[in-house]
Amino acid sequence: MAVVTLYLVATATFILMHAVPGNPLQQEKAMSAVIRQNLEEKYGLNKPLLQQYTTYMSNMFLKADFGISFKQVNRPVNKIIAEHFMPSATLGVMALFGALVFGVILGVFAALNRNGIPDMFAMVLAVLGVSIPSFCLAYFLQHIFALQLGILPVGGWGGFAETLLPAMSLGMIVMASMARLMRSSMLEVVQQDYMKTAKAKGLSRLQIILKHQIRNAVLPVMIYFGPLFATITTGSFVIESIFGIPGLGQFFVNAVNELDYTVIMGLTVFYSGFTILIILVNDLLLAVVDPRIRLA
């Protein structure tokens, strides 16, 4: 199923890409007919579109070869992905799982102190979190933590400290919505009969909260988690450029602007594949948390 989706995404991207007027060679300076002919031959642009399509698809799906970039001369797309994927992935995963952990904690914290000061504090934070664009937040965080307080680096990539600010800016929206979902889910679970049963059995408050309330409440939250991954990947380009992170985002935006066919295709398929993978992992996690779900 996943492969079919990937194939269809690749086909749709291929069609969209070739629907744009121009081709990657045309945008360069005027070149002689011979050079153009040679270049077209090298990249296979002189062949009919259908043949280009079949060659490309078979290379991609059978040999996992995304071809070479048009603009970064002779650089294989596979290499671009291999070199620049780690920063993006680290950032995305840190942002998402940080958001999940802190969002759940915040939501639990708010629900347990319902209508109290902690609840109000957590919900104000959650509502503010969904209201501030990630790029604004990035600048504010950078200014406060890096320039004013000087406790975290302004940008760059390398150690753990560098990942904190970008992950925070990227994950804020997710964290805020997680916290809100978790809170309402917790409050819904409290009213269930099995909570009364647990209390009647004489379980301690901590046991009830950990084993019965949180475990049941986290399920609906997790269902929303997979699709949120898409939000993260779109936002990452700006965050990567603000903090100077050598991630994949910049390559994608530049490639689309320059109509670098192979890079667009490679990154699109790669991103989609990664998203599908994350959703799959999320489903597996869901099965771990909820024994009622049987893995087919």
Partner: protein
Amino acid sequence: MNKTAAQNDGNFNPSPDLFVPVSIDDQSLDGILGRPSISYWQDAWMRLRRNKTAIVSALYIVVLSLCAIIIPMSLDYSHDQQEIWNKHSPPSFGEDVYVDSGDYVFQPKTTEQVIDESAEAAIDVPASPKNVRVVGEPRTTGIEIEWDQVSGIDGYRVYRSISTDTLGIPLDDVPADRINYFDTSSLSKGVTYYYVITAFNMFGDSMDTEILTVKPRFAIQPDVARAIDPNAQPGSIIKTKAHYLGTDYLGRDMLARIMIGARVSLFIGFAAPILYILFGIIYGSVSGYFGGLVDDLMMRITDIVATVPELLVIIILQVVLGNGVTTLIIALVAVSWARSARQIRGEVLRLREMEFVHAAKVLGTGFFTIVARHLLPNVMGTVLVLLTLAVPSAIFTEAFLSFIGLGIEPPMTSWGIVTKEGAAVFVTYPLELLIPSLMICLTMLAFNLLGDGLRDALDPKLRGAK
């Protein structure tokens, strides 16, 4: 009393005189049901009214929309009118500004270059010029600096900085036979400048330089002044126009830019979601109503649309249609309709199995009538909530796209563009990022809170709950 007895033997025959005819609007029934009989929408409206935050949010949205229409018309500025001499102005109601005479001509002061044998023989950097001083009154229209001559050098280099920590940028090189310099390059009011003049020869710049601290007076050229006040006389003091939120890096009024930006952002924010939800309703109800193979096929299409990268679609549309508000709306519709179609399809799928739909089908009602009379009114709640939550996300996307340079084209403005331009100068002029960010935040907040309020008000499960 005898009713119970009659029921007990299982043969209850009600006599017609037990029944009393009532009309539909009989108010006496309200008491029997325990509360006044009101329609679903009346009930929702009542509950929404009780939700103070939602009402305040709705008011904010209305006021903002009105402001976006009225304020740009009442200002004597347009969003792209530049006052290049009044850049990065803080918020003000108009400032006093000195009108320059305009006839000042800078005279380069030359001296005889003395050949100093001892200096010529030196193999080190020269000494710094002494006694660096300002000539006349320093104004933002120009600052004249003079210094004592240093002999045996190749020239002087003028540096200007806005802090004492660094030397700043080299403004210009002055030939060795001149001892003064007139700086007119983009001087801002209220800023303290630190000038450093070094002498240099083949070994490099001199060390141990003097720092000249200058805070120029806010002044403008007479022809600029006449644009503000036709009767402005050179040498007099006039008042600049009011900039209630200050000006940006080109001296454009921030209030005008933010309000025009609000027009663009709100227009996109409303138009795009309305269009794609409308499309989603049509697509979703066809898919949900027919089910089976049609549903499968239509849903696979939305799957693919949802996974194709948004940026790719948007950029392609821009290449084909050109930059602008219309393109942005079409692009947003193109990438977002699939999600709303799925949600509405889910809702229709649920409603389709309801008894009243079956009843309608049995009565021979056609597809359009069922959808229009039975399904749509019941999905309206979902649609309304979807819409209020889609508006902030559309404004967000617009801001994001304009921020990375794929949205609105300058000089037209939007919140994304104002934010982007503010971000570039955030460290020195934080207000220029803070104000547009605050506007985006408040608007997002208002739509989110209103959406939450609507969802609570329209949820039948919460009916009667406080």
